[in-house]
């Protein structure tokens, strides 16, 4: 792998840019690997990267039915934050946030992590109580989060409507300054490049159609559209399709898959300097470096794998955006799209061993998985390599739905991630 640097740019400029190499190779699948990762999204590629760099396991294949980073990694709204209520969640999301800081240097790939601040608005007494509880819980866990008055919120985000005459007036806000955004595609590409350089095989257009198990129940490998590929360890990181893959191994999951939509506006000059979220009016917004307003909508109410959602969901979100930012009422929306998110009953992810020996699962990130990408990959690689969870992901088992030890962020994190 040739290192990217200002000298490399200068050198290639002189040579007519003929020396750039492919960022990752596309090898033919081998008959057998030590580990197979199902799904080449951010979480799957990060898992492969950390298997190679931290645990020295490089005989790894990442299988992807479509193209790399083409699922929810390329469809999310790129928000990063770690201001979750419970200790377990704080542990895993802040682990990720610490890795975001420095990820570009580690990968030698600009993931454009921008700690521009995530501001969550309170519109009523209940919101104030909930967000202040978050602020205090976060600070006890060593996570930055601070309370802002409406005036301070306005100062932090000038286009925000803080008028007392608003239908849902802003009465305060919680601000996590380390929160922000990153370039989602670059995260997948950076991890893919780093993993590929260490010998990991990234195999695109290779859909898993079955999971083969030995007579003793252990995993033997997977059937794919490119034939059988053997492995004693298989990690399923298939987002909205996790329960489909797990069903192939005979494991029924506590998951339901829903369409989640997002949309972007026409590009404009910098106007929104941070991420603004409001769970009460149900909308969140940030501005990409290209200038588009990036707006996240809610999920549809029914199970679906269609990767499209209802128009009324987007309208509802835009109503809320126009309440928060009346100056955007005449903006034109450029594109909207949908992804399929796998949601657990307690809205916390599952990163764990499964009842099937050699089968591991990293799923259930629901509407907010992007922010966790580095941390998720890091602890999931540990889980696979050691056949034992990392202390950070130890609480995120499948068994918690039997024992009742839920990590109930459902109400705590509310709708928007």
């Amino acid at each position: 792998m040739k290192k990217y640097s200002v000298f490399a740019i200068a050198r290639e400029a002189m040579r007519g840019h003929k020396g750039w190499e492919e960022q990752w190779s596309s090898p033919e699948p081998k008959k057998e690997y030590d580990v197979i990762i199902v799904g080449a999204g951010g979480h799957g590629l990060a898992t492969a990267y950390y298997l190679a760099t931290v645990h020295g396991i490089t005989n790894v294949a990442v299988l992807e039915k479509g193209w790399l980073g083409g699922g929810n990694t390329g469809r999310n709204t790129t928000i990063i934050r770690s201001n979750y209520l419970y200790d377990e969640s704080a542990g895993i999301y802040d682990h990720a946030l610490k890795l975001w800081d420095g990820l570009s240097q580690e990968l030698n790939y600009n993931v454009m992590y921008s700690a521009r601040g995530v501001m969550m608005l309170a519109h009523n007494v209940h919101d104030v109580q909930v967000l202040k509880r978050h602020v205090h819980a976060n600070r006890l866990n060593g996570i930055d989060n601070e309370w802002l008055t409406p005036e301070q919120a306005k100062e932090f985000c000038p286009p925000l409507n803080t008028s007392k005459d608003a239908r849902y007036p802003v009465v305060g806000a919680a601000l996590q300054r380390r929160g922000g955004t990153a370039r989602h595609d670059a995260v997948a590409w950076g991890y893919a490049r780093g993993a590929s350089a260490r010998g990991v095989h990234i195999i695109q257009n290779c859909e898993v159609t079955g999971v083969k198990r030995a007579p003793n129940g252990a995993v033997m490998g997977v059937d794919t559209t490119r034939g059988f590929i053997g492995a004693k360890k298989v990690g399923v990181v298939a987002a909205g399709h996790s329960s489909v893959i797990m069903n192939m191994a005979g494991v029924r999951m506590p998951l339901e898959s829903y369409p989640l939509q997002a949309l972007v506006s026409e590009p404009v000059k910098p106007v929104v300097p941070c991420v603004v979220m409001s769970n009460t009016v149900h909308a969140y917004i940030s501005q990409s470096d290209k200038g588009e307003l990036v707006i996240g909508a809610g999920t549809d109410q029914y199970v679906s794998y269609s990767q499209t959602g209802g128009l009324h969901i987007l309208q509802h979100t835009l109503d809320a955006i126009c309440e928060m930012f009346p100056i955007f009422t005449r903006m034109k929306m450029l594109r909207s799209w949908g992804g399929i998110v796998d949601v657990t009953p307690d809205r916390s992810p599952i990163l764990a061993k499964t009842p099937v020996p050699g089968l591991y699962v990293n799923c259930g990130w629901g509407t907010g998985g992007f922010k966790a990408t580095p941390g998720s990959g890091h602890v999931f690689a540990h889980t696979i390599a050691r056949d034992d969870p990392h202390p950070i992901n130890a609480p995120f088992t499948i068994e918690r739905f039997r024992t009742g030890r839920l990590i109930d962020e459902a109400a705590a994190a509310a709708v928007a991630h």
Binding site: H241, S243, V244, R252, M253, P254, L255, E256, S257, Q301, Y302, V303, S304, Y305, S306, T308, G310, L311, H312, D342, P345, F401, R402, T403, G404
Partner: protein, 98 residues
């Protein structure tokens, strides 16, 4: 937005009048306190989440307010049929092969 036929009102109405109420034909135990942890998990948390045909409950919230069941393809989001609550799970689906 989906168009949903309420089997009680016998009309196709827009999705906004309805609330999805999750997977259908999950029987609640008559003796909930006697359920094992395994059975309670299956009843309460585990879902089939199929890519394809799903049997699900809907409630005509802003119409007759009654619960009913529907069969829908989760890939195309097209409804195959709806039927009244309490009716058995249809063994044959109109317009669907084996």
């Amino acid at each position: 937005m989906l168009l949903i036929r309420c089997p009680y009102c016998e009309e196709e109405r827009p999705e906004l009048e309805f609330r999805n109420a999750g997977e259908a034909h999950i029987a609640r135990s008559a003796n909930m306190a006697g359920e094992t942890d395994d059975d309670f998990e299956k009843f309460f948390f585990i879902r089939s989440n199929p890519k394809g045909i799903i049997y699900e409950r809907w409630r005509h919230m802003h119409g007759c307010a009654r619960f009913f069941n529907a069969v829908r393809d989760t890939v195309t989001d097209k409804f195959i049929m709806t039927y009244k609550a309490g009716e058995p799970k249809p063994s044959k689906l109109p317009g669907v092969g084996k």
